[in-house]
């Protein structure tokens, strides 16, 4: 057995730490992340408040943990939604061909001509800035990419002998699609989903930072950073820890993504 690479170990450790913190925060945080304490305003990190407090005396560590819950949850739901929608669309368009396929793909490619974050911003102006609005906007913004990837995989798989064999055996098109084509799309989908998890987490933080994310007082890493700007000269820790969380989470996901790509994508193996 091959030893897991440094990327895998480091990436998996960081990601499980973040997800773990998010899970723990669902049942327990050191302090109530929303509780105001005006006697402890802008307290620097100490034994009482490990990472200090913010301008309302709220415990930064507790808020970071609760924010992890929100970010991880939003990222998981968004990635699942666009993977499901994109896979369904990709399978159908890859299989059907003809006019439906052409028109669907024309729209799909035009949507790909929008930078993802721009499409998400546009959709957010329609659905409104809240947790489900963000999931909907980001999910829709990333679906065209999934459709492209799945369709590409389906088109190349369709020509393979084992698919033909399944048809010759008398299996129906839908059985062949679900039983033989779909499982062979899983590897590129896993690689894509991992990168997407990172993009969504970053996009969600960026939107929160801009004031278009989950509305306050609920903590997110992005809105904590945005609020820290006012107090940054007196309380640098407010601007440091949330950014550190986003960066660590992204680093973990990127390392894990690299490791997965090395394993699952034969083209990249050994690079």
């Amino acid at each position: 057995m091959r030893l897991p690479s440094l990327n895998t170990v480091l990436g998996a450790t960081i990601v499980s730490l973040i997800v773990g913190a998010g899970l723990v925060a669902m049942v327990w945080t050191p302090y109530d992340p929303l509780k105001l304490d005006f006697l402890a305003r802008l307290a620097p990190p100490s034994a009482h408040h490990l990472l200090g407090t913010d301008e309302f005396g709220r415990d930064v560590l507790s808020r970071l943990m609760r924010a992890a819950t929100t970010s991880v949850w939003i990222s998981i739901l968004t990635v699942c939604a666009s993977i499901l929608a994109g896979t369904a669309l990709g399978l159908v368009t890859g299989y059907m061909r003809g006019w439906t396929d052409r028109i669907l793909m024309m729209f799909n490619d035009a949507l790909l001509a929008f930078p993802g974050i721009l499409l998400a911003l546009g959709l957010l102006s329609v659905v409104g800035a809240n947790m489900y609005g963000i999931i909907l906007a980001l999910g829709l913004a990333y679906t065209p990419l999934v459709t492209r990837v799945v369709r590409g995989a389906v088109l190349s798989l369709k020509e393979k002998e084992f698919i033909e064999a399944s048809r010759v055996l008398g299996n129906s098109e839908s059985f062949t699609m679900v039983r033989h084509v779909l499982p062979n799309c899983i590897a590129p989908l896993i690689v894509l989903a991992t990168s997407m998890f990172g993009w969504v987490l970053l996009a969600e933080s960026a939107l929160s930072f801009l004031g278009l994310g989950v509305p306050p007082p609920a903590p997110t890493w992005g809105n904590m950073l945005a609020e820290s700007r006012t107090y940054i000269s007196q309380a640098a820790w407010l601007g440091i820890f949330p950014g550190l969380c986003i960066s660590l989470a992204l680093l973990g996901i990127n390392l894990l993504g690299d490791a997965l790509r090395d394993r699952l994508d034969p083209h990249m193996r050994g690079l």
Partner: protein
Amino acid sequence: MLRFILTRLGMAIPTLLIVALTVFLLVRLIPGDPASLMLGDMASQSSLAALRAQLGLDRPIPVQFVIWIGQILKGDFGHSIATGQPVLGLVIDRFETSATIVVIGVFLASVVAVPAGLIAAWRQNSAIDLLFVGTATVLLSIPSFWLGLLLLLLFGLKLQWLPVVGYVSFSTSPVMASVYLIMPVATLVLHESGVLVRMARASALEVLRLDYVTHARAKGLSEGAVLRRHVFRNSFGPTWTLIGLVLGNLLAGIAVVETVFTIPGIGRLLVDSIFARDYPVIQGCMLFIAFVYVLINLVVDLFYPLFDPKVAQA
């Protein structure tokens, strides 16, 4: 070659049309009638109806779209609800600011990252490779808005070397403009070179394994000549495409950096108009950014045959 250019141009037109349709429909989906938004709550029914007729809102949606496209083609993007300014002028004005930062940033990032990626690939698995790839992975994991905030904290507040917020245009004072640009540009350079180093390295590695590289070495060419003439020229294609994508994505994503440094760019304009529900400006910004994005990718594709002549013949 001419056929390649024409095909590529022909492909961009339906894309732009659907982009326009998407932007148009998106704004139609926003809750609230634009006419009542523009006139406020106190407007009478008759003035509402008059404005709706004037804006064409009483016509069927497809007719509205055709009218709208016609106006866009004439350069009429409508007027801002909040300030009454013509949208196109506003958008172009703000775009210049953002484009200055983005173009300088991406240019400098490419100048640093492409040779770095090449060297890392050339010395694969050495200490230098590990250092470059490690740094790149860390840099690309740091969100630009936090990187900006850290630079601001260090150079603006602690060391007080650079002005903290604001923007001066080049036409007012080139020296002051450069001083104000240092931190936003540095933010982009650091972040984007992380992405570009990895791409340049990965494509250089693929080329380094090929027989003609071995052959070039066997001919007795110096390593520098092999890298420059054979590896760089044949591996630059994917990086070049990525530079185009990065440029376009930054125009949309620049809002966060503009927020950190309080720069009046197009990203901030879009976000502010989303808050204000200033729908003609939202539409104008989205259309303009998407248009520039398509245009950049078009230009990138048209220049691609310079690096890889095979593409033009395919």
